[in-house]
Symmetry: C2
Subunit: 350 residues, 2 copies
Amino acid sequence: MTGKRATRERPRNRPTLVDLAAHAGVSRSTVSLVLRGSRLPARETRERVLSSIAALGYIYDRTAARLRARHSNTIGLVVCEITNPFYAELTAGIDMMLDEAGWVPFLANTGESPERQKRLVQRMCEHGIDGLILCPAEGTSPEFFDWLQQHGPPVVQALRFVEQARSDYAGADNRRGMMMAAAHLIALGHRRIAFIGNVARTSVSADRLAGYLDALRASGIGADERLVRKGPPTIESGAGNIIALMQAPQRPTAVICFNDIVAFGATLGLQSLGLHVPRDCSVAGFDDVREASLWQPALTTVSIDALRIGEKAARLLLGRIANPDGPARRLILPPELKVRASSGPPPVAS
Amino acid sequence: MTGKRATRERPRNRPTLVDLAAHAGVSRSTVSLVLRGSRLPARETRERVLSSIAALGYIYDRTAARLRARHSNTIGLVVCEITNPFYAELTAGIDMMLDEAGWVPFLANTGESPERQKRLVQRMCEHGIDGLILCPAEGTSPEFFDWLQQHGPPVVQALRFVEQARSDYAGADNRRGMMMAAAHLIALGHRRIAFIGNVARTSVSADRLAGYLDALRASGIGADERLVRKGPPTIESGAGNIIALMQAPQRPTAVICFNDIVAFGATLGLQSLGLHVPRDCSVAGFDDVREASLWQPALTTVSIDALRIGEKAARLLLGRIANPDGPARRLILPPELKVRASSGPPPVAS
DNA sequence: AAGGGCATTTGTATCGATCTAATATTGTCA
DNA sequence: TGACAATATTAGATCGATACAAATGCCCTT
């Protein structure tokens, strides 16, 4: 009695193209065309299918579509540290842009581990991403990009880049930003300007140091390597390094820090020595994190619009996916100097 | 001359199960078993297939697998505001846990828009997610959860929850945390303790206010509604509200703020009135953001371990996917009070 | 009446994996 | 030797969509 295999029964309740076609009285092919927004089907047919979609509560299965169509409207987003507000902003910008275009990102956080990065990217490739936005982890080798070029989808690097890798890139002009900060201090009259940099071997670290040196060179002051120090991008590094600098004979009248966090540390370090900012020593940071303007004294810093960089990176990637060939593009957004209370003229005694 | 269709040519270079099977001299089925880590195939066969995988540079196609297997090892992660470091931490925790388990999250940011949230979740469903972690946007209706229950995968709410929604939940004990902060101030001798809350109608806002009221009630002080104010969670709100409070007749000797940002504002507001923290008025916040301990004075606050909550939420979801039935679970992690310099005994004149 | 052009619609093969049930192989024991 | 169980392997259908080429109408010429 159960043998009458009339309309084959499906246990799953989610309707498919076939159900839709039956309900609307057309073929699967026609339904598919409507789903994809083709203008081929007649207006009346389209409307009939559309109403069937609503009636059945149909949900499009993009995974099935992907298998045949060979693209997924999916990209990978691999960042080095999502808890850094800077990369969170980038992520928000990317997400916003992708949403508009109807795409969805897979997310992964590498925590600066190239091994983890490799594994995560590989996994995303298994999921059939059409493109990849990458903030390369510290120590990412150019060979990784060779592998990607061979086995992976198009890539856009964002905010950071690996020097020898041929790929699109969207980021900030760190070099120019740091140059602007240094030029500002020089214009105020400073001549002994220290730099507390980052130990990490990333493009960002190198560019920021280069910008500082550029400005000194351009103004004819020249660099004094005793005024250049490095450390991790932490409060402690900022405090420790400024204390060491102030206790050395070549005492600076101003200090530029790798980023705002280090600058916060430098401020605290100066205060712990009983020194006043900016009367005894000016301080400048980089990034313009939310707290920079609230700091006491409000921090002079360089602002990067990570949200916009995210949007640009996403746009760059979608363009590249649509048109995989063509030369690599580099999109470098200008930074903005925010002059606040932490910078002023050098002490007169100097 | 081109007609000799011997071995059908495939333009794509990515090898498939068929290539693997041919290379290893076994059937597709066997290869599939090996790929899925089944213990059915003989040791020797498994090793042969494994070496073919390496030899051909095979990349598993999970989208194809998903079509037949009806699960994707993919979940959706929908947060209300990724640029809030709090949710960024949560995201990092989730990502960490999922990575260990071999899963990948889709990410989307709703920016507190229920409409956007609906669209994004729907899109993720189209991509075949097996589960969803949601920090519901402000104003999410319980009906949305009904829709999900009907058409979507299992859901876990994180950090926030919609009251009437039946779903798993992982979050912090906001009520208890705020109670601890208030109890701390009461123990210091304060009797007129103000509260600057959040206007948003979220579970978090309600719970934090409730905790404050609990503590007052428990100590027999009772609430004075003139000391309770609300505003958006911004610096400006903190500053504006504390200034209004201090200029009213019922001047408080301490203030508890919805979160650290508001507390920063309150501190600045007090300072702008020429008042000293904590001598003239103690200040407490909530969240223990990174800057709280650096603030001048260092902020007394309640610490929430969002990273761990993220891990718990992910674990909860994976458990639920493996076993969809069973009662809804609520996982509520205890907060920790961080006593710092911004709280002290009330002014003696009081 | 036949043919050409255009707008619509559809049948069938296919994407790359998993699932099911059946078959091949081997070892053990009566 | 043959039956039986345990182990190892496989063929063929299938998941839900898209691609492609072919078919169908219909109107307008000639």
